[in-house]
Amino acid sequence: MSLDSSNSKQRSINSTSSNNQSNTSNSKKRKSNQKTLGMAWGANSLSGSRPSFRSSPFSDFGSYMAVKNKKLQNQFDAQASNSSRSDSYTKPIFDGVSIFVDGFTIPSSQELRQYMLNYGGRFENYFSRHRVTHIICSNLPDSKIKNLRSFSSGLPVVKPMWILDSVAANKLLSWVPYQLNQLANNQPTLSSFFTPKSKPADEGAFTNPICEVKHETGLLCLKDASKDASFSEAGNSFEWRKQATEEHNKLMCENSNKTLIDEPSNRYSEEPKEVEVLEPTNLQEDDESLANNRHQSCPEQSSASVSSHCFDNRGIRGSPRSSVIGPSKQRHSTLKDPNFVENYFKNSRLHFIGTWRNRYRNRFPSLSNGWTKSTNSDVSAGTQKTPIIHIDMDCFFVSVVIRSHPELNDKPVAVCHSYNPKGTAEISSANYSARDYGIKAGMFVRDAKGLCPQLVILPYNFEAYEEVADKFYNILHKHCNRVQAVSCDEAFLDVTDLEGRDPQLLASAIRKEIYEATGCSASAGIAKNMLMARLATSTAKPNGQCYIHPERVDEYLDPLPLKALPGIGHVLAEKLKNKNVQTCGQLRLISKDSLQKDFGIKTGEMLWNYSRGVDNRLVGMIQESKSVGAEVNWGVRFRDFQHAQHFLLDLCKEVSLRLQGCGVQGRTFTLKIKKRRKDAGEPTKFMGCGDCENLSHSITVSIATDDIEVLQRITKQLFGSFHIDVKDIRGVGLQVSRLESADTSRQAPERNSLKSWLMSASESSKEQFDINSIAKECMGTDSEGKNMDGNSSVLHNASVENSVHGINKPSNGEGCSNQNSSVPPLCDLDMGVVESLPSELLSEINEIYGGKLFELITKRKVRGDNSSRSLCFIPPEPALEVEAETSHNSDPVSLSRPAVEMRDEQPILQELQTVPDSGARSNSVAISTAGLENNDLVPSSLSQLDTSVLQQLPEELRADIFEALPAHRIQETSAMGPKTDNERHPLGIKSAADNQPGSTGTGLSNNLWIGNPPLWVDKFKVSNLPILKFVADMYYKANSPESLSSILQCTLAESLHPLDSTCDAWNEAIHSFNELLMSYVKLKIVVDIEEIYVCFRLLRRLSTKSEFFLEVYNLTFPHLQASVDENYGGTLNIHRHN
């Protein structure tokens, strides 16, 4: 009821006010009424307001608007006639243009309206498809973008800059470059490079016309065509409109790539495949030959076990190898994807210039060196003459491109990688008419357009550049055999030899020829030396030549501003300016000493020389590049670590290709990172690097490389050392220095590295011994007993035979040295040994492997390592075993036992040998010992002793033999310990005991439970302690052997051998078992306290039966309770108090 009454009130107000208000001011309100039509909006219902309209002069809203628009037009026309009459009598710029401004713009719609008024256009307050020709806006909401057609009715949507630029240019510019960014995104984003390409077939159809349009925007003659083109695009279905623009961007890139691909990059793209496929096969071959060698090195009489073992080894090593190949191949396929780095460099002018040199050198290999030395004598004579011509193409990058557009000859033209006129892309080269406007290289397109709105911007044409550069150099080389290429468009000629010809005539002849051949002009400078010739060229430009007579050098230099001299940049010029020195003439007044004092010896001398026109450089002295690298500082934005990694890999690929292109390999790798400063916002340059901190890390390896995989590994390592948020990275560069020629670096002797040491080992057998011993030390002393004795057990048959027969085959030695001369494949390294090496040695080995080693080690650490490699973590058994034997020797019965044990152990030991990482290496070492040392009367290694023979020897004789062993062999005896189980030499026991603490100290006790069967089973099984062996047996008897409780249950069930408590191994056994228990507690405490509880309950029951378990229980219990308390805040109720 109350609603109704208010309704009627409102109605009455409405009807009166609508009559009173002026039409124009009320229009907005009316519009909103119109919009809400159909809505149940009780109070303002339209049926109520209708009668009021009927009474007004307008029959409906439509007729009202028509009248309003007409009135607005009239007002506009009146104003226009006022303002435009005053300043223009020609045809107005915006004749026929009618704009509608949508939303907020800069300049504002009122200002735009003013422009329209002044320059003959129309301004529509209300959008109409029939009257409006252009929609002006700076930003569109997403909904309008998505529904562009219904919003714009197919009319061009243009940014307000178009109007300003047109006014500035005083003519109507094509609107195409000003199309709204959201619609035509010319600037490719980083992520678009990474998205996989998928091109619908029909899209090429409309992207091509667009490309054309873009090409000719500068020509201002294709307005209609361009309209059509973009409309055809807009005409496509809207659902994939957005996708289409993306796709279009991509295709644009691709298109440009297709046309712009330069020859080297083409060649590069195929190279990596070859290189990387070849590499593994080589290695494989190496492997095989290695294995073969090893096989050969085995004496023919050697037992079958040795040779078959070698084959075993090879087979095993084959498998990890193939698994390595697998993933790397996969990576190739992902590398084929379009990626940023590749595209970046394909579109980079600097890259073109940088790589051009290699191309040049490949084309004229003999010319770039070879005759430089002979010219020395000419120098003094030459200074009197004018032997140097400097030739430089005039604005090379522009003129090459506009050869095909003669109509652009007089127009300002610039070359830039991006067309976007608002953009912050940098002009890379501008022609002379553009330079007249103040346009310089390095300027943002935006600014350049501001200076010269009619500036035509063209893209690079690398193909054409190459063609012209080639022609250019062909001509130079035809005329003169001493050419020093400075760049693709710039060279010095030494014409001293061409006495008969006037250099000036020669220069003009060359210039003429260049113009005829390439259609581009070149300028030349002729002078007594390179400095002056270069300066002369700068005077001669454009398209001229200049000769500076030696006697007029001073005259020329006197007024020359310092900055014109090469080598004097902003900083130096500024410093000199502060000293009131601005010209060469002024500089010449300063003494060399004071210059050197102020600016350093080199710079001071340079200044002194240059100011006098002295330049002693010789034509042809091409400075060898000291580093090769690639750097990307534009468009670098990373999403996440993976993204960054991917980028790094690509960068490495690029650098590797460049190294290969230059035919060099490098040793020092420097990764530079530009990190956004904390307070720095987005840089002004679109996707630029902005304000950055420059960080760099470098690493030097001992062997020069250009291998992509090595590079990638090193780079990853370097990148890891930055500890940086990848989102802050704005630029990445990888530089390789300490370059060596690829050919020489392969043979370069490197005395100080471990590798060279190993290599040189073959030179003398004495050294060989040392290596063997060292190798043994490495293998043996570092908790490596098992693998070693595994080998020796198999090998000593062979070696003994060797020594018995006195065979001294040269082939043995060869085989050995062969093995030693190459670094074993990474997979053959025993990581346990490697990790326990001193850090210096480790880093050196890492370098030999090009950083692979560290990676592997960290990987292993992360993985927690459950592979068979962890075998080497087992503390060696020697002490245990030897001790056990000594305890047994009093017992005559037990004598037979070790032998039996030994047989039992064989299979396990075989297993150990087949562990790929340690087996191969230690094997080769052992064999080489066998092979080389048989010329000694007394075998210098215990590996050559048949322990079973030794065992049979009388006590005194045995002692003699041990004494006869060289001192450095003693350590071996410890390494051999467990296998030579009957050897009771005190030395062996002692050193084994020495070994023990260190290795158990590092014991990763958790590893005892890794593997199937867990490590401890094998460990206990091979031990000499009956109780441990017994427990190990229980493992196989238990129902669920993965749980200790089940094993203990079994143990409890089986009757126990009473243990001799006086046994020496007693403590050892307790210690081992304690270790086992503690590692089990550690493993289970968090997740399964029940199991721990059951175990210790069982253990308690066992402890009532066995002294051994009682002691173990007592030893372990406090640790257990501490562990429980730590995790559960209580103690385990083993004794059950209730």
Binding site: D1088, I1089, E1090
Partner: protein
């Protein structure tokens, strides 16, 4: 021992089971249902109520006890189902059923320690999980000898230990649980494990805590 925050259910709150599609939601759902049964079994086991207060039911193919008194049933139900969102998020570390004597000193605690794998992504095999949980109920039914005999007039409550206190404002679910200061023993308790299970999606351990003998002397 990580510090955790004990909370007890605020009676009167009601919690509706939600359909949760995530693996954690699934796990939590199963777990909460299990806890309800297990806690009822514990209470029944301790004989704190007359035997007539429970009736035999089958759950997971095991004979279990179910409270007949609606208030008791409601208390247990609302307490554990109130935990559901927190269990799902892995916030609940332990759920304890604590028996107090008349002096309000805890005599015995049945502790369920839970670990819901927050990164477990694949589908949970409900039958596997239930099979594992079943063993708890079986073990529980025969674990009376492990427990102490309770004195007369005992009191009991459910306390949940949170890894971090839930923000009361963050969700309405938190409102039915209120922070509490449960009396603690002075000495570390004796722990008697009853059952442990550890699967990829869920780790659950049930153990008893009794005051250490020295505690009793002090007390």
């Amino acid at each position: 021992m990580p510090k955790s925050k004990p909370m007890i259910p605020f009676s009167g709150g009601k919690m509706e089971r939600k359909d949760n599609q995530s693996p954690q939601g699934e796990i939590a759902g199963i777990l909460v249902e299990f806890l309800e049964v297990a806690i009822t079994s514990v209470v029944s086991l301790k004989g704190i109520y007359p035997p007539g207060a429970f009736e035999r039911r089958k759950y997971m193919n095991v004979v279990v006890q179910r409270a007949r008194h609606p208030q008791l049933r409601e208390y247990i139900h609302s307490a554990v189902s109130g935990l559901l969102p927190f269990v799902q998020k892995g916030l609940v570390e332990r759920v304890a059923v604590i028996f107090y004597n008349t002096d309000n000193i805890p005599i015995e605690r049945f502790v369920f320690k839970l670990t819901v794998n927050q990164s477990f992504g694949s589908h949970v095999e409900e039958s596997d999980l239930k099979f594992s949980l079943r063993s708890f109920l079986i073990k529980l039914s025969i674990s009376q000898p492990l427990t102490t005999v309770l004195p007369r007039d005992c009191r009991w409550e459910i306390t949940a230990y949170f890894r971090s206190l839930p923000q009361a404002s963050a969700s309405k679910d938190a409102e039915i649980w209120i922070p509490t200061d449960t009396k603690q023993w002075q000495q570390p308790p004796l722990i008697t494990p009853i059952k442990s299970m550890n699967s990829e999606p869920l780790g659950l351990q049930l153990y008893l805590e009794h005051p250490s003998p020295s505690e009793l002397l002090c007390g």
